[in-house]
Structures are given as C-alpha cells and as structure tokens.
C-alpha cells in the first residue's frame, strides 16, 4: 500500500480534526482567491471601458462622478453643458477625437444615450443585426438590453423620464429599434444608443432645448491637452476629468478595505496551517504505537516521514481545492447580485495567475507545517514504544 493512500485513509479516519484544518484553509484560500478574481474582473472591465479615453468633458461637479456617469454609466450625470461651448473644446487642435454624449431617458432602467456612430466605433461594437441609427428616434441596442427586454428589430417603445425609474413614461414619441450590437464586454452592451437629436426631441416640451449635451469623451492628439484644457475651462461651467486618474483614486480607496480583507484571509490561512500542524502532532502522539508497528512490519523511517508528510499535504490540497471552488461559487453568487443591481457583469472563473501563486505558496507552507511533525516520526524509538506494551 502506497504511503499516499495510507495517508489519505488516516486523514479520513480523523474527520473532525481534518475537517477543521480543511475548512480553515478553504476559507483563507477562498477569500483571497475571490479577491483575485474580482480584482481581475474589475480592472479588466475598468480598462476595457476607459479604452483610449484620455479626458471627459462635462459639467462642473465631482470629477469621479463625471467619469462614472459618462464612461461607466453607473452614476447620475453632473449636469448638462451647452453644445456650442463644448464645440470649442471638441475642435481644439490638441484633440484628436471627440464623442458627444447626451443623456436621455431610460427604458426598463437601461439608459438611452444620444451620441454619434463614432461612440460604438470607439469600442469596436459591430452591428450584429439591422443597421446603425441614422434618423432621430432610431435606436441600436446592446446585447444585454436585447436579452433582458426582449426587444427585436422593428419593435417600438416609449422611454421613461430620468435614469432610475419607469413611472413617468413619455408617450409622445416612440423609439424604433433598427439594430443590435455584438457583445463587446464593454458598457455598450447595456446601453440603448440613438442620435442626439432624439434626446433633444423628447425634451422639447420640457425645456427650451438650447442644444445641450451631457459630456464629451475626448482623445488627445497632444499630451499638452491635459494641462491646457483645464485652464481654458476655468471660468466656464465645464470641466475635464481624467478617467485613468479618477479610477486609480477610486481603486485606491477600495484598496484599504481590500487590504483589511486580505489581512483577515491571511490570518485565517495562518490559523489553518497551525491547525494542520497541531492535528498531525496530536495524532502522532496518539499513534506512536501504530507508527512503531509499521516499522516492525518493514516500513523504514523515511516511509513514516513520507506518511505524515502526505497526511499534511492531503489536508492542504483538499483545503486549496475547496477554497478555489468556494471562490468560484462566490463569484457566481456575487456576479448575479452585481448583474441584477448594477447591470455589471462578473464572469471571471478562469484561474488568474495570482491563484497559482496562492496555491503554490499554500502547498509549500502546508508541507512545512507537516514536515515538522513528520520529522519527529523519524525519531520514534520502536523498542521503547512497543516495550511499554500500553
């Protein structure tokens, strides 16, 4: 019988001690792995949406809010700006590309955004079916919108005022779906895009639409744009914000919480290794006679060492496997919540590089935690142990 197999039997023979060690390790590994997966998903998502947007022009207010609302479409906009004023910036020689966005209303909580075809083009969103919007009140919808609302090409719908509820429905002008986008993985999947003119059209009766837009996504031609534009805007109701810097600030604020969580997870992992260590030492004291017996039956000391080491490794491997499984269940559960509440997709289930490091490190520490009791198995005096007769 191989030492590894006997080790597994021995470990399973002590379900409580083994269970505690495995459980602790599973939680430690699970939390860290969950953090790695979420982090990967988050940064990929953030980066995908920032994609070459250097600056965002919008109404004065919180720059972070400006970014969240217009790049990620998760917050309410800071306000509107006059298209005429924005044009001056959009035509600035330091600017290579400018994509105007005008927030309209929502349909079943999916945002209707007035823009130009350059916006989907920026995210490489191809038309899956139908055609690109041209006239006012034509819309092209993202994959998520299509899946959630069941809208098809040729369908019409009325928008609801604002961004967050569906109570105040505009009954005057109906939107017509003329196309759908391929899945991009970017926020476009969750948007309803239409020419800016449709947004103005809807609100004609509410305010004297002096041609206002919400924001402009800017791509710089010259790095000096980042220094020059804020000065140009100092005495206007407009501002520019840098997505990369704002998101960095945001993740750093997240960071403190994440660091605390990581410290707790490492603490749990540390406890689990102590638990493996104690479980093996206690079982060793309990099994001195058994181990001495194995020696008399022909197992040399190195086999006893291997046996105890394997027992520790079994617990470690089981803990790591359970932890990685746990984190994936966690991603699926959290992903469901995030998608239901924020239309934010988390699908990172493929192992990320950090997880290999995590598993390797846990295995190594597990081997060390098992190695110390295993060494003491080498030193058992079989004659004294068996002579006591017990």
């Amino acid at each position: 019988m191989k030492a590894a197999r006997l080790a597994r039997r021995n470990v399973l023979h002590r379900p409580l001690e083994t269970g505690l060690s495995v459980l602790l390790l599973a939680f430690g590994v699970g939390i860290i792995s969950l953090m790695l997966l979420m982090q990967r998903s988050l940064t990929e998502d953030l980066d995908r949406n920032i994609k070459d947007i250097d600056l965002v022009l919008g109404a004065k207010g919180s720059p972070l809010q400006l970014i969240l609302a217009n790049v990620y479409h998760v917050d309410v906009p800071t306000g509107n700006i006059a298209l005429a004023d924005a044009r001056k910036i959009m035509r600035h020689p330091y600017i290579e590309e400018a994509i105007p966005l005008a927030y309209g209303d929502n349909y079943e909580l999916f945002r209707i955004v007035g823009t130009e075809p350059s916006y989907p083009a920026h995210y490489n969103a191809e038309i899956a079916e139908g055609k690109m919007f041209e006239a006012a009140f034509e819309v092209v919808i993202g994959q998520e919108v299509a899946a959630a609302t069941g809208l098809n090409i040729g369908d019409t719908f009325y928008s609801a005022h604002g961004l967050t509820d569906g109570t105040d429905v505009h009954r005057d002008k109906a939107y017509t779906v003329v196309g759908t986008f391929d899945r991009t993985g970017a926020v476009i999947d969750q948007l309803i895009l239409t020419p800016i003119a449709s947004v103005w059209g809807v609100h004609e009766d509410v305010e004297d639409a002096n041609e206002e837009i919400t924001a402009v996504l800017l791509k710089k031609k010259n790095p000096l744009a980042i220094l020059t534009l804020p000065n140009l805007l100092r005495d206007t109701p407009m501002q520019v914000a840098l997505p990369a810097i704002e998101m960095n600030r945001l993740t750093q604020q997240f960071g403190i919480g994440l660091q605390t969580l990581r410290a707790v997870a490492l603490l749990i992992m540390g406890l689990s290794f102590i638990s493996v260590f104690i479980a093996l030492f206690a079982s060793l004291r309990d099994r001195r006679y058994e181990l001495a017996l194995l020696r008399t039956m022909g197992a040399p000391p190195r086999r006893l060492f291997a046996l105890v080491l394997f027992e520790g490794l079994w617990m470690t491997v089981a803990g790591i496997a359970a932890g990685l499984l746990l984190s994936r269940l966690g991603v699926m559960a959290l992903g469901q919540v995030l998608e239901d509440r924020f239309h934010y997709e988390v699908t990172q289930l493929v192992p990320v590089p950090g997880e290999f490091v995590l598993a390797a490190a846990a295995l190594l520490v597990g081997a060390v935690a098992a190695g110390i009791p295993a060494r003491s198995a080498l030193r058992i005096d079989i004659s004294n142990t068996l002579g006591q007769g017990r």
Binding site: L6, E290, M297, R302
Partner: protein, 213 residues
C-alpha cells in the same frame, strides 16, 4: 534461520549489561524463552528482531548478518523475514482487518493476494471479519488477527512476546495451537517469549532466563 552469539545489552544508566544465552533455531524449530520479569526477555526479543542494537554480540538471520545492518535495512529485512505478535494487539486503525493484513504483505514486499488473506482469516475463524474495523474486534479476535498479520507474508521466523499473558487457560491453548499450526504450515521457526509457566509443559524446547545473568 536464526543464530545469536554473545548478545549483551546495557541500558543507559545501568551498572551491568544484560547477557543472554546463544540461540540457534532452524526452520520449523520451536523455542520457548521463559523468564520472570526483569530478566530481559523482551530486550532479547527486541535484539533478535533488530529493534535494538546489541552492545556486544551479533544476530544472524537466514545466514546473513542482521544486527550489523543500518536502521532502515533492518526494518525492511525484519518486515520480510519476521512476523511479530506483541503482548497487546495494535493495528493501523484507519484500515480494516483485511487491509491491515494486506499492508503487512505489501511492506514485506509480497504481492497483494486476496485469496491468501481470506483463506488465513477463514482458518482463524475470522472469515466474516475481513471488512470489519479493527476497533470493533474483541480482545480475543484482536489477538487472532495479530497472529494472522504475523504470518500472512510467510516469514521464516515468528516471534511472539507474551502472547498468552492476558488469556485464560482455554484461550491460551487456542492461541498457542494457532501459532504452532501457522508456523508448521509455513515451515517457520517459532520463538515465544513469556513468563507464563503454563506454556512450559506445552512446548518441548525451552530456555530459562535468569535474573542478572
């Protein structure tokens, strides 16, 4: 099969060394080592089994020097050529009766053979205990299983340390008969160490150990 020469053993802190009579056993021989407590019976058994290294003298097993081997080599040689029945039966508790026997065979380098194990258990009246947990056996059953474990790999030498001290007359007879039958069946030499005078009349060859010899 077994030859000892001038075996002496001095415990750390003891004034004098224990000296033991030379033993010579061929295959199929039976020998009873009798002695009161303190005469070093168990020490002699452990020297023969290579579980202790003698202070002086040597043990030769199957014609080859045994006591001069290193620890790991002695462990492996012992596993292959000897079967030991201890005073108190102990097993690998995570394994079943059958698996404990299979483990003894595998450590001795024998191929796993379910038929041998089942046949042996049948013979000892334990056929129905093949898949039983060792913790679930009665004391008498445990002693019989430990005899089975001592012979399952066909060793040339069977050592028994006080196999009957905890048993009544009827069981003493039964255990001794089992040991002798198994030794005879496999042609092994049988060395029994005991203070149990009841065995004296039942085994022809015996050596008495004297205190402070």
């Amino acid at each position: 099969m077994l030859k000892t020469q001038g075996l002496r053993y001095q415990y750390a802190g003891a004034d004098t060394a224990l000296a033991f009579p030379d033993l010579h056993m061929d295959k199929g021989d039976e020998l009873l080592l009798l002695g009161a407590s303190g005469t070093g019976k168990t020490t002699l058994l452990h020297l023969v089994a290579g579980m202790r290294t003698p202070t002086a003298g040597s043990v030769t097993l199957a014609g080859a020097p045994f006591s001069a081997l290193n620890t790991a080599e002695r462990d492996q040689t012992r596993g292959k050529h000897m079967g030991i029945v201890f005073q108190t039966a102990h097993f690998v508790r995570s394994l079943t009766v059958g698996e404990n026997l299979a483990l003894a065979r595998s450590l001795a380098g024998c191929a796993p053979d379910a038929a041998v194990i089942e046949g042996l258990l049948q013979e000892l009246g334990l056929g129905h205990k093949l898949n039983a947990r060792v913790d679930a056996l009665s004391v008498g059953e445990q002693q019989r299983v430990s005899i089975a474990r001592a012979v399952v790999h066909g060793p040339g030498l069977i050592l028994a340390d006080e196999p009957t001290s905890a048993l009544d007359d009827a069981n003493t007879d039964a255990v001794l008969t089992l040991l002798r039958n198994q030794a005879k069946r496999t042609g092994a030499a049988l060395l029994v160490v005991t203070h149990d005078q009841r065995l004296k009349d039942r085994m022809s060859q015996h050596v008495e150990l004297n205190p402070t010899s």
